[in-house]
């Protein structure tokens, strides 16, 4: 937090608007961050002992900011997202560390208090809208329920607000669709309903876990526009979990790269795309077919994400890393380099890694 003194006020002021571009990644003090996750380690109890899924994950989200979380499957993105809302199974999940939201630690909050926050201050959008909507209730009932749970209002008012929310997310004939069931909606329309539901209480943070992955590309473009426009209009911050670097580039101003349960890079999106600091971020960007000439060989990252029970010591990426050297077997702390990138690699200052632009 001492770092805060080293950035000028103008840069910080600019970053608060949540515009796409190069917001500095200097850690704000607790009062400035909306969400501050500190050393979050998540494990699951099993018959053969505990399995650690994430290790000391730390990041923050400023009010109104859109932050992307990227990484391969099995890197701990979804588990981290679920833990913020305490949606992991209480009996088997073990959570260490702090989840400070608006100064309160969500990880120790009584469930009764947590329920007041869910849907009201923080809401979530899932990948598969059909599994998040209850098939036996109408869309309207489910939208109104969210409002009635958090506000003292009549059913009539809740209905009006819900229809308005459906209008805002671009659902045609909202009065009629209010009384329809989820199966009567297409995939894109269901995801719009999910967004309406997530936004209806005007939360300050939305955790969106692969919200467009199941959608067609033309519908995805509509949903991305909608999310960004609504977040601009309402000042809602967004934590956007996705494997799609293109989606992050088009929506977020800052990007966290996760690998094997750790954050390995935290940088402004434009900076990470142009000059990634971590070899894993660079490897992901170089793997995209669009960067290669047609018919040429495509680069890829050899091997696979290590399983939680077989994590290598030191840098967890080193077995797959073309830049690994003696020294990588030591524990890698997050370091801040000359450019202000936060990277979990001791070689960050000597490596000039290729990004999405040649």
């Amino acid at each position: 937090m001492a770092l805060r003194d080293t950035v000028d006020e103008a840069a910080l002021g600019g970053s608060l608007t949540g515009q796409a571009g190069g917001s500095p990644t200097v850690k704000p003090d607790a009062a400035e961050a909306l969400l501050s996750v500190e050393d979050l380690s998540i494990g699951f109890r099993g018959r053969d002992g505990d399995t650690s899924v994430t290790r000391k994950v730390s990041f923050f989200v400023r009010p109104g900011e859109r932050v992307g979380v990227v990484g391969e499957s099995g890197c701990g993105k979804t588990v981290t997202g679920l833990s913020l809302l305490r949606l992991l199974p209480e009996r088997t999940a073990r959570i260490d560390g702090r989840i400070l939201f608006d100064g309160r630690d969500l990880s120790t909050l009584p469930m009764r208090e947590m329920r007041k926050i869910r849907g009201r201050d923080i809401s979530m959008i899932f990948q598969e809208p059909m599994s998040a909507l209850d098939p036996v209730f109408t869309i309207g009932q489910q939208l109104s329920e969210t409002l009635l749970a958090h506000f003292d209002m009549s059913r009539k008012e809740a209905r009006e607000r819900s229809i308005q929310a459906l209008t805002e997310v671009g659902i045609p004939l909202p009065e009629r669709r209010y009384d329809e069931y989820p199966h009567q909606f297409s995939g894109g329309m269901r995801q719009r309903v999910m967004i309406a539901m997530a936004l209806i209480c005007k939360p300050r943070l939305i955790v969106a876990d692969e919200p467009t992955t199941a959608l067609d590309v033309t519908v995805q473009a509509q949903i991305i526009d909608l999310l960004c426009q609504l977040s601009d209009d309402t000042g809602t911050a967004l934590l956007f979990i996705t494997h799609d670097l293109g989606v992050v580039a088009e929506t977020c101003s800052r990007m966290l790269t996760m690998y094997a349960g750790e954050v390995v890079e935290d940088a402004a999106v434009d900076e990470a795309l142009r000059r990634p600091g971590h070899p894993y971020t660079s490897g992901l960007l170089r793997s995209l077919p669009r960067l290669s000439e047609r018919g040429e060989r495509l680069p890829s990252i050899p091997g696979r994400v290590p399983s939680p029970n077989a994590m290598p010591e030191g840098c967890r990426f080193r077995d797959r890393c073309p830049y690994a050297r003696p020294g990588c077997e030591d524990y890698q702390p997050m370091v801040t380099d000359r450019r202000g990138r936060h990277v979990r690699c001791w070689r960050v200052d000597e490596l000039a890694l290729p990004g999405a632009v040649d």
Binding site: V219, A249, E250, L298
Partner: protein
């Protein structure tokens, strides 16, 4: 991946001629999944088929390997109409046409070892003897880039990329000429996609394979294909060489599809103005729009689009389009 000149003049490996596949629903409705699609796949080429869900691309792929019977039109394999063949002739022909599916896990029997799974097609075809089948399966696994000990393992012990390699090995064991690849990298992480696509390219060179590559991912299709067909709601909208189709498309739908793809580029390199936003979603294939199927979402649609199905026109060499207003220069201006 240029296709040699003399191969181009050879007989097509597969021809779809007015291919139509309808599914009857309870209550008398009909899903017009594929509605009059014609194309030829040339020897040694990779023919990309791109489209969104509901476009009919998967149905076409299944029909190409005989998993679905056309309700109209025909499919010719090396010039032969399948419906005219005896069942034993068909069986012999059928082995030349294989398919690899999107979900590498669902395609493997969880109770069979990898080696057993890879041997199965040869058992069905009654190829060789148990010892030769085992050897062929081992060779195929090795060719697909897997270590020999994988053969004794079960599918759940493998990663997604490894499982897809197993499925590729399995398709290779019967020496096919033609493989339909249906979203074969869609379920894989970005980091391993490149390696699998490289493997497909290597095998094509080594065995002279012909591919139909079905995908929704423009960057994949642009990378691997020689020619691309763009499908929308059961019909082909555009068909041509990959470069022109993905860089200077002729159809308004292709242009919109290309512009909707999110680009992993820094903000100053992304041209926001290029975006053509389609409104609405793909209509139901039970009651597709009259005339041009794309007209309900097309920014350039006119009255004529509802009345007449656009002609299939060759506006550039080998580059075809179904739009009333496209010219050699490209699609009509979106306004």
């Amino acid at each position: 991946m240029a296709v040699p000149e003399q191969q181009m003049q050879q007989e097509p490996v597969v021809v779809a001629d007015g291919l139509t596949i309808h599914f009857d629903l309870r209550g008398g409705d009909t899903v017009k999944a594929v509605d009059g699609v014609s194309f030829q796949i040339r020897p040694g080429e990779t023919f990309g088929i791109i489209g969104e869900s509901g476009s009919g691309k998967t149905t076409v792929g299944r029909a190409l390997v005989g998993l679905l019977k056309p309700t109209g039109g025909r499919i010719l394999y090396a010039g032969q109409d399948v419906s005219a063949l005896s069942s034993s002739q068909y069986r012999q022909l059928r082995r030349n046409y294989q398919i690899i599916f999107q979900d590498p896990h669902a395609a493997l029997n969880p109770r069979m070892t990898i080696l057993q799974s890879v041997q199965e097609p040869m058992e069905i075809m009654r190829d060789g003897n148990p010892a030769s089948r085992r050897q062929t399966a081992r060779d195929a696994l090795e060719r697909a880039g897997l270590p020999p000990e994988i053969g004794a393992r079960y599918p759940h012990e493998l990663s997604g990329g490894q499982k897809q390699r197993v499925n590729i090995a399995r398709a290779l064991t019967v020496n096919p000429r033609f493989i339909v690849c249906d979203e074969v990298v869609a379920a894989l992480d970005v980091s391993v996609r490149g390696a699998i696509l490289n493997l497909f390219a290597d095998l094509q060179k080594e065995f002279g394979l012909t591919y139909a590559f079905i995908t929704h991912d423009i960057s994949v299709v642009a990378h691997i294909s020689n020619r691309v067909g763009v499908m929308y709601l059961g019909r082909l909208m555009e068909l041509g060489p990959t470069g022109p189709v993905t860089e200077q498309p002729l159809h308004p739908y292709t242009r919109a599809l290309l512009s909707a793809e999110p680009l992993p580029l820094p903000s100053e390199m992304r041209d926001q103005a290029r975006r053509i936003r389609l409104t609405g979603e793909i209509p139901s294939p039970v009651s597709p729009p009259s005339g041009c199927r794309f007209r309900t979402r097309c920014p350039s649609a006119q009255a004529v689009c509802a009345e007449h199905v656009p002609e299939w026109r060759e506006l550039r060499p080998d580059h075809w389009v179904a739009c009333h207003f496209s010219t050699e220069e490209g699609p009509p201006d979106a306004s």
